[in-house]
Amino acid sequence: MDLFPLWNSLRIAAISSVIIFFLGIFLAYYISKLPKVAKGLLDVVLTLPLVLPPTVCGYFLVLAFGNQSPIGQFLNNVGFPFFMSWRGAILASVLVAFPLMYRTTRGAFESFDDDLGNAGRTLGLSNTYIFWRIRLPYCKNGIIAGLVLAFARALGEYGATSMFVGYIQGKTATISTAVYNYWTIGANDMALIWVLINITISIVVLMAVNLFEGKKKGNKRVN
């Protein structure tokens, strides 16, 4: 059995998660500090992929990075194409899974006790130190939960991925696109195997989320 879809799915989800992690923290932090109107607007834009059908996201990706677009042609020329490549699947996963990380992280940042940051500043601690050593550890559980959700979503991404990078065996095939393709050619037993693999991974991920959320409740400060 060709295990490429499993390995490909995992590497796409892992790389996407790393990108989403830093991007999510960065945007969640700076957007939470913006004035109300700008915050609301950016919130809508960044959350949109969560509610749009993934095919719409895929369509936009093709429009922006496909062979017809200037960016797509440029990437083809430098030999680094995203369209119909496993790299493109990372782009699709980041786009679709990002809102999950962004929203959970922002929620976590908003629950941060501002007195802690202010105490740090009056003690002479630098803003960077406060961010990495006080704010992030305080919001740790929320951030990890967001990251795990984003990872799970990236792992299960189908719509945008299949439109943007298709299903090329040994190149762009992922677990979810493999299920669909085995089913269309009537290889039901293969489809079932991939379905079971997918379900197993999802259960593990969701159990991890519950574990972190349970911990968060137990850790609340008593005043």
């Binding site: 006790d113 007195d115 802690l116 202010n118 105490a119 740090g120 500043r121 009056t122 003690l123 002479g124 601690l125 630098s126 130190y129 050593r133 006080i134 550890p137 305080y138 740790k140 400060r221 008593v222 005043n223």
Partner: protein, 345 residues
């Protein structure tokens, strides 16, 4: 020590507009919740930025909107004790306290030495590796103090530090804090709504109401003559009435009492106050018949809710605090010395 604060900030629903100067070492801002006293403290620390104004600590300008001076909180060298103590929950006691000297970039040895000293002085030995949630309320406060004091601040800012504590702990920590302030000889500003706290800890007190300083004077003088109705309420006076002045008399609007106008009397005076302790059954001055409505037993005193017989209907009941031994059932008249009347604006 001298501190000068002139700060204006419009929060939309609330306007902070304070202006005061202190020349003493232990000072207090007394105000009800929402009066703007914590905002004032945060402006001094640089946590909030006034729209305009001027703040200097011991001649050192930390904020001046005209000359575009606005030092970051990190550069003001103030020690701010938060009501919640704001200990970093992910760090141990030791890590928390060492945060207070990170700014000096000392070598390990010197850090250890200073840490050992402060832990000994604040009696926190043996707790070094504990996380904040494993410490009692009193210990948490001492850790917060240690974290501040280890960095040698120019001034200490206390934001309602005792209000979350029970009676017993409060008195003990007040004493401890007083001792520490004396030992380190660092000037301090205390923000509080509690008159006892202010009275026992501050030499000078400013009363803040609705974002403005109404009175600013030595603490004992403030309690003797609060000058303003709002200040009188904050100093704990329980009985107030509005007045009219006719010829040489002061006429109480609601109580039906008339007294002689004192020689020194400002036309701005519109209210009077009589403290609950100032009434006495044996006092001949302003003695009037009363009706007792209720007697509330307190641990060492009785709080008697009463009305003068000639008091206007619908007006507020009055309070009399008296020793437990006095049989209030036999009391039918109460008087008070005219000299005990607080004249208020």
């Amino acid at each position: 020590m001298s501190i000068k604060v002139k700060a204006y900030k419009d929060f939309g629903s609330f306007v902070l507009d304070v202006d005061f100067e202190f020349e003493k070492d232990t000072i207090a801002l007394l105000g009800a919740s929402g009066s703007g006293k914590t905002m004032t403290l945060k402006a001094i620390a640089g946590i909030i930025k006034p729209d305009r104004g001027y703040i200097s600590i011991d001649g050192h300008v930390v904020f001046d909107s005209e000359n575009k001076v606005n030092l970051a909180p990190q550069k003001r060298n103030v020690g701010y004790l938060f009501q919640s103590y704001a200990l970093f929950p992910n760090m141990s006691l030791k890590q928390n306290v060492l945060c207070g000297i990170r700014k000096y970039h000392l070598d390990k040895e010197e850090q250890e030495k200073r840490f050992k000293d402060i832990v000994r002085i604040l009696q926190l030995e043996g707790l070094e590796e504990r996380k904040p949630h494993q410490l009692s309320g009193g210990q948490q406060q001492r850790v917060a103090l240690a974290r501040i004091l280890i960095g040698n601040p120019d001034i200490l800012l206390f934001d309602e530090p005792f209000s979350a504590l029970d009676e017993y702990l409060r008195t003990r920590l007040q004493l401890e804090t007083k001792e520490i302030i004396r030992k380190y000889n660092i000037p301090s500003i205390l923000v509080s709504h509690n008159r006892d706290e202010v009275y026992s800890l501050a030499e000078q007190t400013a009363v803040i109401d609705q974002g403005k300083v109404v009175v600013n004077k030595p603490t004992d003088a403030l309690f003797e003559n609060p000058e303003y109705l709002k200040a009188s309420i904050l100093t704990g006076c329980k009985n107030h009435d509005s007045i009219k002045v006719k010829d040489k008399q002061i006429i109480f609007d609601e109580w039906g009492i008339i007294v002689k106008k004192p020689k020194e009397f400002s036309d701005d005076i519109k209210y009077v106050g009589v403290r609950a302790h100032s009434f006495s059954p044996s006092e001949k001055e302003n003695s009037n018949e009363i009706i007792i409505k209720e007697v509330m037993e307190q641990p060492f005193e009785k709080l008697v809710v009463f009305r003068f017989k000639k008091q206007k209907e619908g007006s507020k009941d009055l309070y009399w605090l008296v020793d437990k031994k006095v049989d209030t059932k036999k009391v039918s008249r109460l008087g008070f010395k005219t000299s005990k009347i607080l004249l208020l604006m």
